[in-house]
Symmetry: C2
Subunit: 203 residues, 2 copies
């Protein structure tokens, strides 16, 4: 009988309906300002219903995080077009920075926000792996070709990601104002910082 299959399908539809609304509202107003009641209103259901599909607001956050990581991965794939590994790394870095500047609320939700309750690691701990592995593979390619000063990919990733995340997150928290001229173009300055950094770690 196809009833249970249909029900399962309907359940999935309901879940995507919730996450779609949540993603939209998180993007527009941020995670903190989006309440379960608001989301319920948007999809025209009662607040209690959401808890039949997601255990709490955090679980909703992690669902949306997963989607956001994939969005970033898509951006990587679209913008990393060169054949030269080092150039690819530069394209990736600039894509990362641009992504953070263009989607501040999304970036917040992906890397800055602290989920009130710590989520179960075994189930949700790896929803950014595909995106992270894209970075790691590219770094490995660079190291294999002896283009970087690093010998270990994880060690290199630690530094490269930290630099990129530092630039984006300090900017999102308005901490760069003291270091850059009033009229300067922030994307330009951050891109230049990425460029310079990558030059300094060339083998």
């Amino acid at each position: 009988m196809g009833i249970s299959e249909r029900k399962e399908r309907e359940r999935e539809e309901m879940k995507t309906m919730i996450t779609t609304a949540a993603m939209k509202m998180f993007l527009e107003d941020g995670y903190a300002k989006t309440s379960i009641r608001n989301i319920a209103d948007a999809i025209e259901y009662s607040p209690g219903t959401i808890y039949l599909y997601y255990k709490d607001k955090d679980e909703l956050l992690f669902e949306v995080q997963g989607q956001a990581y994939l969005k970033l991965l898509e951006a990587f794939k679209q913008n990393v077009t060169s054949t030269d590994p080092l150039e690819k790394l530069e394209q990736l870095g600039k894509t990362y920075v641009s992504f953070g500047l263009a989607n501040p609320e999304l970036y917040d939700l992906m890397f800055i926000i602290r989920a009130p309750t710590n989520v179960d690691e075994t189930t949700h701990g790896h929803n950014g792996d595909a995106t992270f592995n894209y970075l790691i593979s590219l770094i490995e390619e660079c190291i294999l070709a002896d283009l970087l000063i690093f010998k270990n990919a994880n060690q290199a990733a630690l530094q490269i990601w930290s630099m990129a995340h530092g630039l984006v997150s300090l900017n999102l928290r308005c901490r760069l104002k003291v270091m850059i001229p009033e009229e300067a173009s922030i994307p330009e300055i951050l891109h230049k910082a990425i460029e310079e950094y990558l030059i300094s770690i060339r083998a």
Copy 2:
């Protein structure tokens, strides 16, 4: 007449009483989990009283932030002891990282948390300036002695701070787990990352 002076003094005492309790509770439980009612309870006053001294929870946050920045500055002054500028920069970097690892809730409050309402810039925008200037002066010293690849201090600070903040904040959000071995000592790895980075930006 000394009455108004005494009142002013009492007002200041009350303010420090509030901020001291707030700082303690922010440190222990974090900003989000500390409520005005909790603080009021701790100092044995009613919640309304706090609003006679601080306009809202944000203003309290900025007050505590200021104190935290000074605490970091103290740590800098205590640990930056070398005579060699580059060595001093390394000591500063390691102090920064250690500070963040040792006081995660404080670091959060200083650099990661987004205050719900954006505070008035003219009054509170510069409460971290002394600490930041310490970094800038040191970088200028390095640049003047031609020890760094940078020609501009702000440009250098942008990168150096971003790297340090990236390392600390990604660690606080458990994003480094994928890059470092299970049993590794995080302080050691982050210190090594700082060391390596500083080597790569040497002139």
